[in-house]
């Protein structure tokens, strides 16, 4: 008998472990176990009105936040949002979320896996007067499943949470009806995140595994870009503009990419809005086109410009957008087999024309999605990489 089998026997008898867990002899080195930013796989930034940068992340089963007064070069001691370790959703399009309102109130949200079927529960915490954070609470009473939450403070100061919800999917299945995907749901808080109005469903049968893009056409008029499921099979992007806080508008297809698939794309869209122009960037692998694309709408999302292919064919992924005045920055990632690069393009005329793409950062190991963040003056790339850690880099072309 092989020596390893004897070792296995001794371990099994001594520790009472299962046969399955003994497979660890082949496993990857143990992941970073702490709750530090260095152990996180994704970090989400937001600027407060006072110019401080806040970053939220999950690591070691905890959701943490920390603030920086020097644009991410150093951070104050991190604050734990979670009270106990949990199985935080860390999928490729999931991350801890953070939003800060004009009064400096900080909101943090995240999803926890409830079971082995990846049903999630979204929790929200808000900053308190004393500098701490409230105990995280679910954003909705329904416990079926919420994931891919997005926080957005609307121009009036109210807090919108939108997410992917499985309550209608569960109901349909219990009635024996087909229900591809999951629903786009939302809820408002008018009291700084203390309480939420009941959740509403804005759209049924949307992609269940993609992040959402959210902006505002005006106070209480959210705009949501999302990967919809058209005709039960085609996972193309759509945009919806609310008529008022509780009235989701019709959905408009951003582009007929014709991605008929039952795979999990794990890649949602990026959306930015300024001066009535919607800017959208997304990934598709459809019959009509493949790769990352950009399009814009000047008529409230009713029609979009022809999609522009972004970056190197077959390599571009994970687009991010930010707008300031008439300037638009579009960043994405490209992997060439050795290095992962963040590429950037800038438009100075509302996205009508674009400058040449340039590389603004790179790494040779695992990395988060590139995110773009602004503080009203500057715009920055926020990027967490395994090798280099957290970086906040000012973008070229800022006014």
């Amino acid at each position: 008998m092989r020596q390893s089998a004897w070792l296995f026997l001794v371990m099994a008898v001594a520790g009472g472990i299962s046969a399955a867990s003994a497979q660890h002899q082949h496993a990857a080195p143990p992941p970073c176990a702490g709750a530090d930013l260095a152990c996180a796989t994704a970090a989400t930034p937001a600027f407060a009105a006072d110019g401080r940068l806040w970053v939220a992340w999950s690591a070691g089963g905890q959701v943490m936040v920390a603030r920086s007064a020097d644009l991410g070069r150093s951070f104050a001691p991190a604050i734990a949002i979670t009270r106990n370790p949990a199985r935080i959703d860390n999928g490729p399009d999931a991350r801890a979320k953070i939003a800060i309102d004009g009064n400096g109130r900080i909101y943090v949200a995240y999803a926890v896996f409830q079971d082995e079927r990846y049903n999630g529960r979204v929790y929200l915490s808000r900053s308190t007067e004393g500098g701490g954070f409230s105990e995280p609470r679910p954003i909705t009473e329904d416990a079926t499943s919420q994931r891919f939450e997005t926080l957005a403070v609307d121009p009036s100061g109210d807090l919108l949470v939108a997410w992917i919800d499985k309550r209608n999917a569960a109901t349909a299945r219990s009635e024996g009806k087909a229900y591809p995907g999951a629903a786009l749901a939302f809820a408002w808080s008018k009291d700084g995140g203390t309480s939420f109005a009941p959740a509403r469903i804005a759209q049924d049968q949307t992609c269940e595994c993609c992040r959402l893009g959210i902006g505002f056409a005006g106070p209480h008029r959210p705009v949501v870009a999302f990967r919809n499921i058209f005709d039960g099979t085609t996972r193309d992007h759509a945009v919806m503009t609310f008529a008022d806080a509780n009235t989701p508008g019709p959905i408009h297809r951003i582009s007929v990419d014709d991605w008929k698939t039952n795979v999990c794309p794990h890649q949602g869209p990026a959306l930015a809005i300024a001066d009535g122009i919607y800017h959208v960037a997304w990934f598709t692998n459809g019959q009509a086109r493949q790769g990352v694309f950009y399009a814009r709408s000047a008529d409230g999302g009713a029609t979009f410009s022809p999609p522009i292919a972004i970056g190197t064919k077959d390599r571009a992924e994970r687009p991010a957008l930010i707008v300031q005045g008439h300037r638009v920055w579009l960043a994405w990632k490209e992997f060439d087999g050795e290095a992962m690069r963040v590429r950037l393009m800038v438009s100075v005329d509302d996205g009508a024309n674009w400058g040449a793409a340039e590389t603004i950062a790179s790494t040779t190991d695992a990395s988060d999605q590139p995110l773009l963040v602004g503080d009203g003056r500057g715009v920055f790339l926020s990027w967490l990489t395994k090798k280099e850690g957290y970086r906040l880099l000012p973008l070229p072309g800022a006014s």
Binding site: S18, Q23, H24, A27, G91, V263, C264, Q267, F335
Partner: protein, 158 residues
């Protein structure tokens, strides 16, 4: 039979039932291809975090162990590496414990995906068919097992 021997035998039986997952790292794809070179091979990429994969997995469990004429390999390709114990439990439940199995063991998933197929962005499920002559074909999404059977028969046609 001594108690010790009884425990030993039951553990040997258990370990045979549990999927033995090998870590899929840089270079593993080449290793895997060389190992199966010259024989029709079906490599199925799945993930614990992929709903359609979990729905389809029991079909693989019925198909793979019962199908002759091709070698089957399962690769868990979750972009964030999953616990081998959880993967093994799911594979065993699906009837795939006896099938060669690997699991992505590098958080830099793009590097692994690139080695497998530079055009693949990690969407799951995905299946690669490698013929006797080394030619390969990728199927994105769930497979049609009738077509898969046809490919295997074609590979084994005299």
């Amino acid at each position: 039979m001594s108690i010790r021997l009884a425990i030993l035998l039951s553990l040997v039986a258990c370990s045979a039932l549990a999927a033995d997952l090998q870590p899929f790292e840089r270079g593993s794809w080449e290793e895997l291809r060389q190992k199966h070179a010259g024989r029709p091979t079906v490599i199925h990429f799945w993930g614990l975090t992929c709903g359609p994969c979990l729905v389809e997995l029991p079909e693989w469990g019925r198909f793979a162990p019962a199908t002759k004429g091709a070698e089957f390999v399962m690769v868990a390709a979750d972009p964030v590496p999953e616990e081998p114990a959880d993967l093994a439990t799911t594979l065993t439940k699906a009837g795939l414990s006896g099938i060669e199995s690997w699991s992505f063991a590098d958080r830099f998933a793009q590097r692994l995906q690139y080695e497998i197929d530079p055009r693949w962005r990690g969407e799951l499920p995905m299946t690669i068919l490698i013929g006797r002559d080394g030619s390969s074909r990728s199927i994105l999404g769930t497979v049609d097992f009738g077509e898969l059977r046809g490919w295997i028969e074609q590979q084994n046609a005299p």
